[in-house]
Structures are given as structure tokens and as C-alpha cells.
Symmetry: C2
């Protein structure tokens, strides 16, 4: 008879996995993906290194799961700001971008790891998938703004992807060169860049 | 006596390296980084696979060199458009972004490989370095525009990075989903997004 996992075993495994990811997130915020060592993480999670490898067979698997876990949290934050009912679409987008930038600059090592740190191909692929997720959320808000006449007509798919690229890359500078910037100014300027792009009347020379 | 490389040997090596990179660029445009096989490239370059490994000890080394070689060509194109003397700063930036987008959509597999394809960490690191190169060029043009009063005051370092992020990410959509877009419209919309961001008066809600 094949081994059947009982509900209790399954629950325990999920709890262990959650514990590993929680500790991995704390470690990520200290050392980035490059410094995320299986042995250190096992120790922090009070499990054997061999056990950790049963949950995540390689560092690339671990980093991908950590990336997804951390980014889910950020996506949820952005989504919440995009759904604030009493604001216009542009205001909601500004709020979501501001929240994203603030959270990034408050946890710069994690933000650098999620946005820009050189990582294995599987994590780069996860970045692409999540940028689509972010863009999809912004696209919905832009479409609503167009319908409500609070945003000018535009290709919402294109604008939303450009927004995600602009805010991410605008933060890469401050995150990489931590000494030469005022965080509040960087947030304001990044968000302003994005908002001007989607709210301005058509640039005449294009 | 230690072996000293003669000028002639050195020139022959450089020619072989150049030949490899030229063939690699052609191959890249057919199959992206994922399909770039050492054996195929050696065959295309009419050299032994062992010889290829003497020039590029690993696929990651090869991909990094190919990335740098291809991106140097793109950077030179952007730089040329940014230096057109008779135009305003905004017009030069629009011309440079348009040229970048046009070249990308004309060689979509190469563009996807350079901009977004999941690659090894060394190539991701090279992407970061070259995004800084692009941003530096756009920052110079933005600064000139501010001095000439053709662009509003702004943090040129931040705006230039955001420009690079916006144009790259705007193109990722069309490059990934090739069926659902009009290339000319995608170029116009991407460039307009960027130009509105840097030319518009301050967005009031930020």
C-alpha cells in the first residue's frame, strides 16, 4: 500500500515550510540573496540542514520561494492601496507607488534583492512573472481612470508595465548608492515621474 | 624564458574572438541566451569546441561577453541620437528612445534576450552596469535640457533611471506577447510615456 500523508503530517510540513520562509525573509533583509546560506538558514529555523534540503532541494529553489513569499507581501500592499474606494484612479496609483517606494527604502537590502540583485535564472523568471502581476493591478486602475475621465486615454497594458519599470529602476539608484540621496525626495520624485507620465496630455513631438 | 605573445599571435586571437562574438550575435537573434549552445557556436565560427572554451571558459562567460558586445552597439546608437546638435534636449531624448524601441522590435529575440530573458547572475550584473550606462547618457541630456530651460527642473539621475526602466519594461510586453500589438503604436506609446514624465509640469497630488 502506498504511503498516504495524513492531514496532521501535512499540516506539520506546511508549518515547517512557513517557519523556514519567515526566517529566510529575516535573513534576506540582512544579507540579500547572495548571502542566503542553507546552513545559516537551517540554524535560524532550528532544523537540520538535511531537513532544509528536503523542503528546498537547491539554493535556487529556496531563493525562488523566498522571492515569491516576499513579493506576495508587496503585491498585497500595492493591491490594497489601489482599492481605496474614495480616491480617484490617479490618487490610488500615487498612493500605491508611494507605499511601494517607502517600503523599499525602509528595507533596502530586501528591496535590492527583490528588484535588482543578480540572481539565478529561476529567480529572474519569477521577477518577470511578478512584474506582470504588478502591471496587471496598475492596468486595472488606469482603465478605471480612463472610464471615469480622470486619466487621459492610453494603452493601459503598456502604461502599467512602463510604470512598474520606472518605479523599480528609479529605486535601484537610491538602493545601490545609499549615501547620496534623501529618501523622501526620492519617493516623491519617483512617484511624480510615474504620475506625470500617465496624467499628462500627449507630448506633442512624438 | 617566459613565453611572450607576439603582436601577430595577439592580433589573431583578437580576430578569432571577434569572429566568435559576431557569430554569437547572429545565433542570439535566432535562439536567445537559453539556446546559445557552445557546440553550435563553435560550428558556426568554424573552430573546435575546445578552442571556443579557451576563449570563453563557461557559457556564463560567453553570455556575458555576448551581452556586452550586443549592448555596446545599442548604447552607441542611443548616444548618437542624444548628440544630434540641432534638436532640443527633449527631442533628442525622444529620438534616442524611439531608435532604441525600433531596434528592439525589429530584432525581438535579441531584444528579449538583452532586456528580460532569465539569465545567469553574471549577465544580470552586466544588465545593471549597462542600465547605469544608458541612464548616464540620458541624465546628461536631461541636465542640458534643464540648463536650456527646455525641460522643467528635476533630479536628472532619478529621471534618467526611471526612463530606462520605463522604456525597457514597456517593450517587455510587446516582446513577450508578439501577436497582440502594433509595433509602431507600441513605440509611440512607450516614448510618449517617457516624454510626458520628464516634460510635464509637476503632478499636483504628490
Amino acid at each position: 500500500m502506498a504511503y498516504r500523508e495524513t492531514l496532521r503530517v501535512r499540516e506539520r510540513k506546511l508549518a515547517t515550510r512557513k517557519n523556514i520562509l519567515t526566517n529566510a525573509l529575516i535573513l534576506l533583509n540582512e544579507v540579500g540573496f547572495a548571502g542566503l546560506q542553507m546552513a545559516t538558514l537551517a540554524q535560524r529555523s532550528t532544523i537540520a540542514t538535511g531537513t532544509l534540503y528536503r523542503y528546498f532541494p537547491s539554493k535556487e529553489d529556496l531563493c525562488t520561494a523566498v522571492f515569491e513569499h516576499a513579493t506576495e507581501i508587496e503585491v498585497a500592499q500595492v493591491q490594497q492601496h489601489l482599492e481605496t474606494a474614495e480616491l480617484s484612479a490617479a490618487e490610488r496609483i500615487a498612493a500605491a507607488l508611494t507605499a511601494f517606494a517607502k517600503r523599499a527604502l525602509r528595507a533596502p537590502i530586501t528591496a535590492w534583492a527583490l528588484i535588482a540583485e543578480p540572481v539565478e535564472p529561476a529567480v529572474v523568471a519569477a521577477r518577470l512573472r511578478y512584474r506582470e502581476r504588478y502591471a496587471g493591478l496598475f492596468a486595472q486602475a488606469i482603465e478605471q481612470g480612463i472610464r471615469e475621465n480622470t486619466l487621459p486615454p492610453q494603452d493601459s497594458a503598456l502604461s502599467s508595465r512602463a510604470l512598474v519599470g520606472a518605479i523599480a529602476e528609479a529605486l535601484v539608484g537610491p538602493l545601490a548608492h545609499k549615501t547620496e540621496f534623501d529618501p523622501n525626495q526620492a519617493i516623491t520624485d519617483s512617484v511624480r515621474f510615474c504620475l506625470q507620465a500617465i496624467t499628462a496630455k500627449n507630448y506633442p513631438h512624438v
